[in-house]
């Protein structure tokens, strides 16, 4: 291990990143979608001389500015903090590989936020043409953010030829880059529509613009539903076969110990996406007069759950890797896993403070990026009823290469026989502590 490990009991380190990242994705995709929604609507309003629509947009931009530039930006920084603490090796690798892209992204983000601030404070102060131009600048830069980040996100699942040639361009324009970009683009339109619906639902019931705006915002979901299926199909064609198997293996069983949860959550993405379409149809589109802000919040909650479930599924699809074929989810390099599989683990560790407890250190360095002891994906739950020998036997299975049935879900466990025994002993103590808490208390 090259970095200090940071474990979070209960929630699990993965979920810490997950919660911040899902919130960020929800807001940032809205930022991209609304970045197009607002100037396009402004263009329409100016063309048709609709002052009421311009007034609404002015109000909407304020909300949009606060949400994206404050919560969006701070949650984005939050991702950096959390991934560098939880997944330092993978983060370092992404920075090394894509330093140029990150640099451009920061520049683009700066222009994006600056143009948004000018756009908001320029309402009714700038010449309409100039204001409109700044709106377009915002739209382009916000979309550029997605264009760049999408390359890095998709790289982690499908690094493609980068594995052999280590070329920036091979990694960036990897096999799933374009289907993912197009899919996310449709999502940004849908989220722009949902937030537009929410804002319009807050207008007074008798406001003359209310019905028009609710229906107009609803229509922004149409592109998403028309074409996202095609892009999803394309995406499924390019993801690795093992990932697809992992996603479908829960169809005939929902048991613990496999990745059936991936099937279940992926299925939820589809179901909830479909219900959002009907909710928009029966709510703001067909029944705008009786559509309230409380109902709009349900739509946003549904959108948030779909975003969260989709992002979670995408993350889990990578299992057992953080960067497919290159680095495992616990930060170990795939190449090193072959070379040093049964060697004493901590001999190669550049950062290890064992304090004599090898088992605990093994857990922290090799297990805790995905598992907790008693919380999320609790090892005391999975290993319930097993003694040290049984746990040790299980750990040896994880070193059996092609014969290891868990190789598509979990990284191999590295370490000598003594390391495995120490880990098994540590885990047995933890399992027994849960089974007989009074013994542990003594």
């Amino acid at each position: 291990m090259n970095y200090p490990s940071w474990t979070i009991e209960g929630l699990g380190s993965g979920w810490l990143i997950g919660l911040i990242a899902i919130t960020h994705v929800f807001i940032s995709h809205f930022a991209v979608g609304a970045g197009i929604f607002v100037p396009v609507t402004e263009y329409f309003a100016r063309k048709h001389n609709r002052q009421d629509v311009l007034d609404f947009l002015h109000h909407h931009t304020r909300f949009f500015l606060i949400l994206t530039a404050v919560f969006g930006a701070s949650s984005g920084v939050g991702i950096w903090f959390s991934i560098s603490l939880v997944q330092p090796a993978a983060t370092a690798s992404l920075i090394r590989t894509f330093v140029f892209a990150w640099g451009i992204e920061w520049m683009v983000f700066l222009v994006e936020v600056t143009s948004l601030i000018f756009y908001y404070y320029g309402w009714n102060k700038m010449k309409p043409e100039l204001h409109q131009k700044i709106g377009w600048i915002y739209a382009v830069t916000a979309y550029c953010s997605l264009v760049i980040i999408n390359g890095i996100l998709t790289f982690m699942l499908t690094p493609g030829a980068w594995i052999e040639n280590r070329s920036f361009w091979s990694g960036f324009f990897n096999p799933s880059y374009f289907p993912s970009l197009l899919l996310r683009t449709t999502v940004t339109f849908a989220l722009a529509g949902l937030w537009g619906i929410y804002q319009a639902s807050r207008l007074d019931r008798d406001h003359p613009l209310r019905t028009w705006m609710l229906r107009y915002s609803s229509r922004w979901l149409i592109p998403s539903y028309l074409v996202s299926g095609v892009f999803l199909f394309w995406y499924i064609q390019v993801i690795p076969g093992e990932s697809l198997t992992a996603m479908t293996q829960g169809i005939t069983g929902a048991g613990a110990g496999n990745l059936s949860i991936l099937t279940r959550v992926a299925m939820l993405v589809g179901l909830l996406t479909l219900t959002i379409a009907f909710m928009v149809l029966f709510g703001p589109y067909l029944n705008p007069t009786d559509f309230t802000a409380k109902k709009a919040i349900w739509l946003l909650v549904s959108g948030f759950i779909v975003t969260g479930a989709a992002e979670w599924s995408r993350e889990v699809l990578r299992k057992p890797y953080a960067i497919r074929g290159f680095m495992f989810s616990n930060g170990l390099l795939a190449q090193e896993a072959d070379e040093k599989l049964k060697q004493p683990f901590f001999e190669h560790a550049r950062w290890a403070r064992l304090h004599g407890d090898v088992g605990s250190a093994m857990f922290k360095t090799q297990c805790s990026s995905c598992h907790t002891l008693n919380g999320y994906r609790a090892l005391t739950g999975y290993l319930k009823g097993r003694d040290q020998e049984s746990i040790y036997n299980f750990l040896t299975i994880l070193q059996k290469g092609e014969e290891n049935p868990y190789r598509f879900i979990m990284p191999p466990v590295l370490g000598s026989d003594d390391d495995l025994k120490a880990l098994a002993s540590f885990l047995e103590k933890e399992v027994k502590a849960v089974e007989t808490p009074e013994t542990a208390a003594k």
Partner: protein
Amino acid sequence: MANLLSKFEDRIPIGPIKEAALHKQVPIHKHSIWYYMGGISLFFFLVQGVTGVLLLFHYQPGVETAHASVLRIMTNVDFGWLIRSIHSWAANLMVATIFIHMFSAYFMRAYRAPRDFTWYSGLALLGLTLTFGFTGYLLPWDDMAYFATKIGVDITADTPIVGKELAYILRGGEDLGGLTIQRFFAMHVVILPAIFSMLLGLHLLLVQIHGNKVPDSIEERKAYRKIPFFPNFLYADLFVWLIAFNVLSILAAVYPWPLGPEADTLAPAPKGIHPEWYYMAQFYVLKLISEPIAMAFFGLSGLLWAAVPIWDPTTASGRRARLATYVGIATLLGFIALTLIAYATLDAGP
């Protein structure tokens, strides 16, 4: 097309139904959220019907086959686990929404004439729903289902006068076995759905005739507006159904309904055996007091609850209305508190 519709109309005249739907008005005010509860209950019932039929294609009643067939549904049938999970979760959500629907109708005083028959039919539907739950719970024939049902039927046997005979009929003998599964299955998939559907039709008809009750305080201030049932409230209802569907999907997918080990009739009852959550309050009371007294208490309090249209008619003084409110609050809080205590003391034993 118009010609085709006209021919259809000649044979099945839907005009009056359409007319009624167009004229029906639904009051909208700050408490109108409670009006959706009946619709959500209906939605869950429809889900039960669809998923129940799908399960019927694979489920095989019988001591040797019940558990094995459910296990096969869970592990070998594509999306079988999902259908069973939805069926089980929807059953629980249906009970929960009917309870909410009942309490909201109670506190809105929707039981008063002319809606008293709506109240009675609603209570009968709740009773049938609980019986649905009781009969369905046994069908997987796992250890929890077996022992919880055994306790339930034993309690039934303590009902004064008819208890023993009723328990014998339910079991199909002295002990729970193949005939019990067969009888519970027959009740669950044939008898109860038939009675429930007819009663539901009556309930919906009464709701259609008498309309939604506006709470007195809102009626006095006229602090409400009316919207047409068709299409406005129907769209709103469908919107809420979709939310209910989302909640159901999330629960069914993230927390798939488990299946315990096959029931071993010779083994001692495992620790922590308990019925479904909606029987837990009664289950706890039965731990505290002797069964005949408890059964008499349940019977009398149930009767008192059902008879609220009689003991709280519209009066000038409003004294009885206040009493009914206190009874309602005490019942609601008592039910919640006893259920929570029952779960908290589950492992402590009787």
